[in-house]
């Protein structure tokens, strides 16, 4: 059993949570868009820039060595965190979006051709849709989706049918940023792999909330962003199976990713992971992401997930009294996300009125327009929780929403 979270103690580590917004104490319920950062992460980045910044690799001087060691150590932290077999399977990217585009432009361009199908789900974030649409357009392939049922779960039956049609790739989100649905990533991967289909998992909303083991999942690619996992902005991760990464051509060209550059004899490339890391990397971001994942580990993924689902359940209970409320997504296995619309009100109005009470929620399509279409709406109000949120904050949010709806309807 994991130790339960004490959010009060945790909160002391998040300086931003002390601030006021519109004269009210900030209640930050926009974790799914980006998490706040514990002081350890902020200080790690500052510490690096203050005391041992230098460009990594190839430097003979001590600073460069120290920076390189810290940078590569962070890679090892990521490897252990997601249980990758080797650290060279961890590629630093600028974020989740960048990581998916890397796979699309390298593996995708080589493996997907005219007539092929790329299978997605209706609940994907635009980051896991648009790159595949672009690729499909370019090579004459097509994009298909597994539909979502009313409750926000994938249509398993349809999934089986669509896998049987033999798509080249099945790319799906581990946890939905809009619905909170937690997909059974292991089972989905098993089905796809059994049919010889490559699997990419978008782990943006999973890594901050649960244990992830890429070897156990057996997926080909797994990607996530640092800034949603208590880490800094501008850094993300692509995990790929070694043989796969090795077989892929490089994407960005430049320093670091080369072996020998010659104008006359052509250029040869470096091995993993550097082959995919052209140019000076986001050194401070990688180091600070390592600290964030260690911090997450210290609390425990299970404890965080327990805490967040408790908060979400409490929020649903409170909101249920609102007449005309409709929850979007009500999967039994939902993570700490509550999305809803209220008859006769616009999400923007509710979001604005919550903001004026100090409560930060996200409103709109959450970069999942195809999912909005499915539910026949243009957007939702979404509250999403992190380790640092409290039941008291949920109460403030619920009371604020009730007040907002009353004002809008009266």
């Amino acid at each position: 059993m994991s130790k339960a979270i004490d959010p009060a103690a945790l909160r002391a580590q998040f300086p931003i949570l002390n601030r006021e917004v519109n004269g009210k104490p900030l209640v930050y319920l926009d974790h799914a868009a980006s998490s706040q950062k514990p002081i350890a992460v902020i200080e790690a980045q500052r510490e690096y820039l203050m005391h041992y910044h230098a460009n990594v690799h190839r430097g003979v001087h001590a600073l460069s060595q120290q920076a390189t060691d810290a940078f590569e150590n962070a890679r090892t932290i990521v490897q252990r965190h997601i249980h990758a077999a080797e650290s060279c399977e961890v590629i630093w990217t600028a974020g989740a979006t960048d990581a998916i585009n890397l796979v699309m432009q390298t593996w995708g361009r080589d493996q997907i051709s005219r007539g092929d199908t790329i299978l997605l789900t209706r609940m994907e974030h635009h980051a896991n849709i648009v790159p595949w649409q672009m690729l499909a357009d370019e090579v004459g392939a097509s994009v298909d989706v597994v539909e979502v049922k009313d409750d926000g779960n994938l249509d398993d039956e349809q999934l089986r049918q669509k896998l049987a049609l033999g798509p080249k790739l099945f790319a799906f989100t581990h946890v939905s940023n809009t619905l909170g649905t937690v997909n059974d990533a292991k089972e989905l991967t098993r089905q796809a792999k059994a049919a010889g289909i490559a699997v990419l998992i978008d782990g943006c909303q999973a890594v901050p909330h649960m244990e992830v083991d890429v070897q156990d999942l057996d997926c080909d690619f797994y990607i996530f962003s640092g800034h949603k996992a208590y880490g800094p902005t501008g850094i993300g991760v692509l995990y790929g199976k070694r043989e796969l990464l090795e077989s892929m051509r490089p994407w960005r060209g430049g320093g670091e990713m080369i072996d020998v550059v010659s104008l006359e004899d052509g250029t040869t490339y470096a091995g993993l992971p550097h082959k995919f890391e052209a140019g000076t990397p986001h050194i401070s971001g990688a180091i600070a992401l390592g600290v964030a994942l260690n911090w997450l580990n210290g609390i425990g993924a299970e404890a965080i997930m327990d805490h967040e689902t408790t908060l979400a359940a409490h929020a649903r209970n409170g909101l249920r009294s609102i007449e005309g409320i409709r929850f979007i997504g009500s999967s039994a296995s939902a993570a700490g996300v509550v999305s809803f619309v209220v008859d006769g009100t616009h999400p923007y109005d509710i979001g604005t009125l919550l903001d004026s009470q100090g409560v930060a929620v996200r409103t709109g399509h959450h970069c999942t327009q195809p999912l909005m279409e499915r539910y026949g709406i243009s957007g939702t109000v979404r509250a999403s929780f992190g380790a640092y949120n409290t039941l008291h904050e949920v109460d403030t949010f619920v009371a604020g929403t009730i007040r907002a709806v009353r004002m809008l309807r009266d």
Partner: protein
């Protein structure tokens, strides 16, 4: 000569003076939104649409017999509609020139300037720009 624009802005500023916090201000804005007559569905055309990131605003303008500009506005979000109502109230019936050159100090005065930031999701800034464009366009056509 009474400067209608000044008079109206003073009026609005006064109206907002006594609100204690944003909730009260929004309460009033919502009120104004509800009072603003909606436009016809048939007028909700793309060409009349000002896209904010989240809420949509429709804005129509015609020149009346006296050469003054008559605005009509609507939005799918009531707060945005209330803001639109405020803008219409201040600018309606003025001459194209007055509109084109209007110094809308009341927006800052009543604390709505944050809503005017170019990165705001509500489209108020685009709405103000569009109203001024109408002013300029109608001036040109004289």
């Amino acid at each position: 000569m009474i400067d209608l624009l000044q008079q109206r802005q003073l009026e609005v500023a006064k109206e907002f003076e006594f609100f204690e916090d944003w909730m009260e201000r929004y309460e009033h804005i919502i009120e104004l939104g509800k009072e603003l007559a909606p436009i016809f569905e048939a007028d909700k055309l793309d060409e009349n649409l000002i896209r904010g990131c989240q809420s949509r605003v429709w804005l129509l303008a015609v020149k009346d017999d006296e050469g003054n500009v008559q605005f009509r506005a609507d939005s799918d979000a009531i707060i945005t509609k209330g803001l639109a109502a405020l803008m219409v109230r201040v600018l309606n019936g003025l001459t194209p020139k007055e509109i084109a050159q209007a110094n809308l100090w009341f927006i800052e005065k009543i604390g709505l300037d944050a809503h005017l930031s170019p990165t705001r999701a509500n489209g108020l800034r685009s709405m103000v720009q569009q109203m001024k464009h109408y002013g300029i366009a109608f001036q040109a056509k004289v």
